[in-house]
Amino acid sequence: MTLQAHDIGLRVRRRSLLDGIDLTLAPAEILGLIGPNGSGKSTLLRLLAGLVRPDSGQVTLDGRRLDQMPRRQIARRIALVAQNAETADRITVRDAVRLGRTPWLDALRPWSDADEAHVARALARVDLAHLGDRDWSTLSGGERQRAHIARALAQNPQILLLDEPTNHLDIRHQLEVLDLVADLGLSTVIALHDLNQAMRCDRLAVLQHGVLTAIGPPEEVLRADILARVFGVQATVLIDSHDGSRLMRFQPIG
């Protein structure tokens, strides 16, 4: 299943939020989305999820225009984990994950054992099966993020869109979430802030002021000149003597 953006643009009150974005998400690929605050990462994810219609260009799923597909059909293929999705309702973790089955249910197709199996599988996949009956409000930040991913997995999607899933998590939970995403084997677009973490993606797309300024494998994109231009930082590459992997150190350009 291929998700493509063809020259999409979005304007709000004459301000351009996104402009001329061309993007193809290959099957089973993890595409990282990086860029400074306000560069349009969340907006691009919303467009790719079909929640917002672009003013120009179009998003297609296997060649079909997203804005001409029923919302329910999109939700069976694309799942979005947004930022700051919170609730004050008193619901259990399992009930929250059950919401992921919404696009597969209607009056003629009520809740079934198959749906319950999907939910159980999703909970097990993110290692939360033991917390299924806990109240949502008792979960830690990392557990909530994993529960959101389980809800997305319960949609049984082929494409997963994640908006800064490691935000506000401690370092151990950040790594857990990233490992989980890497293991899922789904086509994934993931917005990230940490550039060292971004290096684990198959490809990276760099957004600046709503324009795609670079796209390609991490080692080509995370070059000193691009980082200086987009983020205003001077990057130095260090080699970890432990396993020979590359990591970066940043300093503001003075």
Binding site: R71, R72, A75, E86, A88, D95, L99, T102
Partner: protein
């Protein structure tokens, strides 16, 4: 912990819902008709009903027969329909706006419906061709549009501050529409009309007759039916509107259908009984406390509790002060305002 106890109690109660739900719907209005300043035995109520519907020919005091059939029964039926309708409206608004304090009364929707109704009845809008409830519906929708629009403009949303914004916008809306209502009354009504209207505005079931029953029941069946049809969509709003959309819910269409159905219920209830406060606010919270947050159970339980609550409130209104009937809005406010305070405090404690 107390919440868990509530859930378990409800599970035991839930055993055969096909049995106790219809039983409650039939029994509550009958009990409401039996109780009053002069209590009438349930058997008499039953006989009066049999006389009227089946022509059973039981020998009854014609005064009892009249009180039950022409006065108390339609009153109890409208009270029940009104309670269910307002409670469902409150539940739907709370879910769609992600706001624990949303309620047709607090958000000014009832005030808007009052203005619309008064425009038709007193100012003669529509030249007698427009029914009062249609005017009330227009007023209710105008108020809802105004309040939600104002809340958006002032940065309302699902954040804590946004939750306050929509309640503040509701206060502004209520004040505006109440002022408009007073203005229309002062300008167009004679002294006698004004007195009647003022009493009606407080929320009052005194004038209820059989003609009102059909309209009230239709409105409540449509509102509860629409909510029940959309239980999964309502659940999907748990994590907000965007989350609902990404779960495949056609958000705009669902919101429009639900707001229209509940605004219509509110408008019809207001046109019959005046604005009754706090039912829509308090009842959904009581229902959530009993059966949790999933709408498949929440919608019917909210409707049932709302029905019973308003029938009981009406009985209390009739017997609390001997020789006098209080406006039912006074009773619901006396119960609802402290409950509102509790919800406010608990909302602050929640994360």
């Amino acid at each position: 912990m107390t919440a868990d106890v509530g859930v378990h109690a409800a599970r035991r109660l839930r055993a055969p819902p096909w049995l106790w739900v219809p039983l409650l719907i039939v029994a509550a209005p009958l009990l409401g008709a039996a109780m009053g300043e002069t209590p009438i035995p349930l058997s008499t109520v039953w006989q009066a009903l049999a006389n009227q519907i089946l022509g059973a020919g039981y020998a009854l005091d014609p005064i009892d027969q009249g009180i039950i059939w022409s006065y108390r029964l339609p009153r109890a039926l409208v009270a029940g329909a009104c309670g269910a309708g307002l409670a469902i409206s409150g539940l739907v608004l709370q879910t769609l706006l992600r706001n624990a304090l949303a309620d047709p009364y607090l958000l000014g929707i009832s005030a808007g419906a009052s203005t619309g109704a008064v425009l038709v009845v007193i100012a003669g809008l529509g030249g007698g061709l427009v029914p009062m409830s249609a005017g009330a519906l227009l007023g209710a929708l105008a108020a809802f549009g105004l309040v939600v629009g104002l809340a958006r403009l002032s940065g309302g949303g699902t954040s804590a501050r946004g939750a306050a914004q929509i309640v503040l916008a509701g206060i502004a809306g209520s004040q505006l529409f109440n002022a408009l209502t007073s203005f229309i009354i002062a300008r167009s009504a004679n002294a006698e009309q004004a007195r009647g209207i003022m009493f009606w505005l407080l929320g009052n079931l005194s004038g209820v007759r059989w003609e009102d029953v059909g309209l009230a029941l239709t409105a409540v069946v449509i509102a509860v039916g629409t909510a029940f049809w959309h239980v999964r969509a309502l659940d999907a709003f748990t994590f907000g509107t965007q989350s609902a959309a990404s779960l495949g819910v056609p958000v705009g269409r669902v919101q429009a259908a639900l707001v229209l159905a509940t605004a219509a219920a509110t408008a019809v209830m207001v046109s019959i009984t005046g604005a009754i406060g706090f039912v829509g606010l308090v009842v959904p919270h009581a229902a959530r406390f009993l059966v949790g947050s999933r709408h498949a159970r929440l919608v019917p339980v909210t409707a049932l509790i709302g029905m019973v609550f308003l029938i009981v409130a009406d009985v209390v209104a009739r017997i609390l002060v001997p020789g006098q009937t209080l406006p039912i809005g006074v009773v619901t406010a006396l119960i609802g305002a402290p409950a509102f305070a509790v919800i406010l405090v608990r909302a602050r404690c929640a994360p």
